[in-house]
């Protein structure tokens, strides 16, 4: 198991957003989390990358108990993520966004940063090349030099993925990567997720687009009102009457 979450719970004021959720993500798989709006998917994701600290439960990544770590240590342990409502660094160019993603692997001393010795200049050139390659990987190579606030919505979604990949994560959490995309763009994301998985990166995917989920996932966890409703292979889950009811809603009488 790459990631194990045991008995995770999180409350906000009086509302239990996530209650006693168990999750085990196997290395090399795409593991999806679905559920109706407000079911606690994003909260769960925020727990899994340290943005929220759980009220109860623990998170083990690889061999390491990462519960209570600050977010940047989740990242250095190897967990990356993207955001449902875009968190692009709009004060940087497209390429710099991806280069910033490589911080963990390019960190240099303060003195070197100030004086820019040849060693750093070389490392910077290398980082630039690698970021360029990642942009090619997500299909954004032609935007590399642009300011990031000039990109169309779909491209920004892919830029977030490229930036997260630059941190070379073992586990990538994708929060609704297809939300707001048209069918063509959604298909491209579908492809992209597969190619990420092929690179050996484990993916946890939160997504509303059922078609996408069914196509790319090996396992699906269904959340409803902060609780686990069902878990299993996509085909099995999609036939589960409980899931259909929760997801589509009862036909009000």
């Amino acid at each position: 198991m790459l990631l194990r979450a045991e008995n995770l719970s999180k409350r906000f004021g009086g509302v239990a957003a996530v209650q006693a959720v168990e999750l085990a993500v196997e290395s090399g798989t795409v593991h999806s989390i679905i559920g109706p709006n407000g079911a606690g998917k994003t909260t769960l994701l925020n727990l899994l990358c340290g943005i929220y600290e759980p009220d109860a439960g623990k998170i083990v990544f690889g061999e390491e108990d990462v519960t209570g770590y600050p977010p940047h240590e989740f990242a250095s342990a190897g967990i990356g993520r993207t955001f449902q409502n875009l968190q692009i660094f709009f004060n940087m160019s497209v390429l710099e966004n991806v280069m910033a993603g490589g911080w963990l692997h390019e960190a240099c001393g303060l003195a070197a940063a100030l004086l820019r010795p040849p060693g750093l200049a070389r490392a910077e050139r290398r980082a630039r090349t690698e970021a360029g390659e990642l942009l090619t990987f997500v299909g954004l190579e032609r935007w590399a030099g642009s300011p990031s606030d000039g990109l169309p919505y779909g491209a920004l979604k892919r830029l977030e993925i490229a930036r997260a990949l630059a941190a070379r994560p073992k586990l990538l959490l994708l929060d609704e990567p297809a939300a707001g995309l048209n069918p063509t763009e959604t298909r491209e994301i579908d492809q992209l997720i597969r190619r990420i998985a092929e690179r050996g990166i484990t993916v946890v995917l939160v997504e509303h687009n059922m078609k996408l989920v069914m196509e790319v996932s090996q396992r699906v966890l269904v959340l409803d009102h902060g609780r686990k409703l069902a878990e299993g292979e996509p085909a099995a889950v999609s036939q589960d009457p409980q899931v259909i009811e929760a997801y589509l809603g009862v036909e009000a009488c």
Partner: protein, 311 residues
């Protein structure tokens, strides 16, 4: 852009003396340079790392008085005093930055403002050491019998230090550290998600900006031979922030331009006598209302747009 900009700045520094007719104009140019050194550093904190400080005059004052007191009261060689003062202020910034930078927005503004005021009050009250509100005399910089004096010599010293500061700033902005700052400014949560420790990077920006303020402060003290606590006051802090924001946040050359304009403007406004304050206030408000990004970024954008059109 930044390489070209640096070359232009170096050229301006090299050629400006042709336009400087007397020691007074040299004086104004030197003060512009000293303010620009602070602003370039402060811009790392405000413009790039996105953290406000309303107390940087405190670091300026500590640098000035630190160096002045070590040299005048304890007889240290001035260069050693200057270096120790800058190092000492950096250390102080490092120690207080840790808890203070956990605060955000207006709370951070209040905390830094409070720090600045504390420094100013201490400097004005401990008159046995600091000379009190009327200030103290500061020995000139120099080694043994060789003393650095005269506006023309100081012009080149300050010009060189400014160019060095700008060069270092441009380097770090375009390094992983600079990207980490900008990432924090762009989205702190996303920065965390790619492994950037907010506390650590805010602290480096804070310490570097404090160091540049301390350096400019110490240079000011030794250059003018006299220093008063007014340089550590809240109003001076505000002046510094205004220069950065006016020139344009997240633009090193903006910081230099902001310092240049807001330092020379009062000199030009002297003819207005009692209307000087009203004019200064109105200029500040109008610029910020109509160019909220600051002067240089707004002009850059306009220029880029104009260049795009003819094609």
């Amino acid at each position: 852009m930044s390489r070209k900009g640096f070359a232009v700045l170096a050229l301006v520094v090299a050629l400006l003396p042709l336009a400087l007719t007397n020691n007074y104009t040299y004086e104004v140019a030197i003060v512009v340079g000293l303010n620009a050194i602070v602003c370039v550093g402060l811009n790392l904190l405000i413009g790039y790392a996105g953290q406000i400080s309303l107390g940087h005059a405190g670091f300026f004052g500590l640098g000035a008085y630190g160096s002045a007191i070590l040299a005048a009261r304890y007889g240290w060689p001035p260069f050693a005093a200057l270096a120790s003062a800058v190092a000492g202020v950096s250390f102080i910034a490092w120690v207080i930055g840790k808890p203070v930078l956990r605060l955000k927005g207006h709370y951070l503004a209040m905390a830094t403002l409070g720090l600045g005021i504390i420094v100013a009050v201490v400097l004005a009250t401990e008159d046995q050491i600091t000379g009190g509100p009327d200030g103290m005399a500061v020995p000139p910089l120099g080694v043994a019998s060789f003393v650095l004096q005269g506006e023309k010599l100081w012009y080149w010293i300050v010009g060189a230090v400014l160019l060095a500061t700008v060069w270092l700033a441009l380097n770090i902005i375009d390094s992983p550290h600079g990207r980490a700052w900008r990432a924090l400014h762009g989205s702190e949560v996303a920065a965390g998600a790619i492994g950037i420790d907010p506390a650590r990077h805010k602290l480096t920006a804070f310490v570097l900006s404090a160091a540049s303020a301390a350096l400019a402060g110490a240079l000011t003290a030794h250059y003018s031979g006299f220093i008063t606590p007014a340089k550590a006051s809240f109003l001076h802090s505000i002046e510094l922030v205004t220069m950065v924001v006016f020139g344009g946040m997240a633009s090193t050359f903006g910081a230099v331009v902001g310092a240049a304009i807001l330092t020379t403007l009062p000199q030009l406004l002297t003819a207005l006598k009692e209307y000087e304050m009203v004019t200064l206030g109105a200029v500040m408000m109008l610029t910020m209302i109509f160019m909220p990004q600051g002067l240089v970024p707004t002009l850059e954008k306009a220029l880029a747009a104009a260049r795009r059109k003819p094609e």
